[in-house]
Amino acid sequence: MSKTETFKWNRKHLLGLMELSRQEIEYILDTAEGFREISTRSIKKAPPLRGKVVVNLFFEDSTRTRNSFTLAAERLSADVMQFSTKFSSVSKGETLLDTAKNLEAMGIDIVVIRHSAGGTAKLLSRTLNCAVVNAGDGYGEHPTQGLLDAFTIRQIKGSLEGLEVAIVGDIAHSRVARSNIWALTKLGANVTLVGPPTLMPPAVKQLPVKVSYSLDDVIDKVDVVNMLRIQFERLGSNPFPSIREYSHYFGLTLDRMKKAKPDIIVMHPGPINRGVEMESEVADGKNSVILKQVENGLAVRMAVLYLVNQASQELRNK
């Protein structure tokens, strides 16, 4: 699986997947393949980021992504600094850029940033000298999630070429959906967005996807179904009458699974609202790869940290 051997990675930041070429995405996935083995050893560590400092700059809550980035950085021997708004001078009114610049003055090499405002990672990449990795920016992108989803599908199906993928639920508020759309379509999959019209992004026509307002219409045709979380914390108005009604039309139930292809892949970026997006029996069922996604996330993030560090090292040496 190494068509990308002659390719050279030269991006110091990973801000989103929209700007990446197919080759760049494949290069990250191929590299991640090489990092998977480290987590199977009894000594789960390799030295490429020895002496480097990675900061997790998280302005939003997170368990999976933050822990995954922490573990990924530690497995590559980096020192990791944790930053969360609750225990920092942000609560005293310090601005984002001041916070970041102060951290950089301590000599950090990679910033992993999550923020509720879209474009934050890009802003930091223009301001700081260190490498910047986007761990989710508002409704923008969540590139490592898109990569790990693509990685997981590729691992099971061998390739994404020609696969039918449905992304279901709260598309409008989902950076996961956006990063998935770019990763999957660039790798050759056909993506259908499924959800109520109120949860579709306004500019959906400009995306390289099909749209359906009925899960029942598409469930029997797809190879992969990626169920998004209803982001209760971001829903301003009432986009659907009730949670029960939402899960009635868009929840992945055992009944709907009976209509699906027997080898359909069921994905969810987590955290799951059990009983809302999908029934527990489906989340824990034989088609579910939810925990595999988490496992692969580690290898993908190791690859990303390694690659941006390599690129920024080379730029510095020039």
């Binding site: 290069y27 393949e33 390599q310």
Partner: protein, 175 residues
């Protein structure tokens, strides 16, 4: 460009290395063969096949990717860093005599990286180094235990090992 070894000579060389390993391993000891990616991987697989016939028993063979252990990863003196690929060693190296196989022993830096990478996988009883070609230019104090071909190569010249599986031909050339 000068041809150092042709296909027949490579074949004889690998036969010789397998013979050395068979002799060193004796009958009772637990051994494993590990090739350094990328050419060492192919050579290790071939040596393992010959060795298995010689001693009439299967010998575990694995591949080591040393990219993450290179000493020039974060150094300005670094060359082009190849893509990270997987280390594929499915057996436990602890308490085994490991025969590390590489195509060319030159600066000694790859072998240094390989030794570090092996340390992260376990504690072998011993590690022996077998190479197809050895040339001058060592930068680290590392020597091979078994050498099939000792080449006189001038500084600035480059020894390239080509194998059928990857390059379509078996030969070793000096450029």
């Amino acid at each position: 460009m000068k041809i150092l070894l042709d296909a027949a000579q490579i074949s004889n060389s690998l036969e010789y290395l397998a013979q050395c390993i068979a002799g060193a391993a004796g009958t009772g000891s637990d051994i494993g063969i590990i090739g350094i990616r990328s050419r060492g991987e192919i050579l290790a697989q071939r040596v393992t096949k010959i060795l298995a016939q010689k001693i009439s028993k299967d010998v575990p063979c694995g591949t080591l990717d040393i990219t993450l252990y290179r000493d020039d990863l974060n150094s300005p003196a670094g060359q082009e860093i190849p893509q990270v690929r997987s280390t594929e060693i499915t057996f436990d190296i602890s308490d085994k005599i490991i025969f590390l196989i590489d195509d060319v022993l030159y600066t000694g830096r790859s072998v240094r990286a390989a030794l570090d990478a092996l340390m992260d996988l376990g504690r072998p009883r011993a590690i022996r180094l077998a190479v197809l070609v050895e040339r001058s230019g060592r930068e680290y104090p590392i020597q091979a235990d078994y050498v099939a071909c000792s080449a006189k190569v001038d500084e600035g010249q480059f020894v390239q090992v080509k194998v059928v599986e990857v390059d379509g031909i078996d030969e070793v050339v000096v450029e």
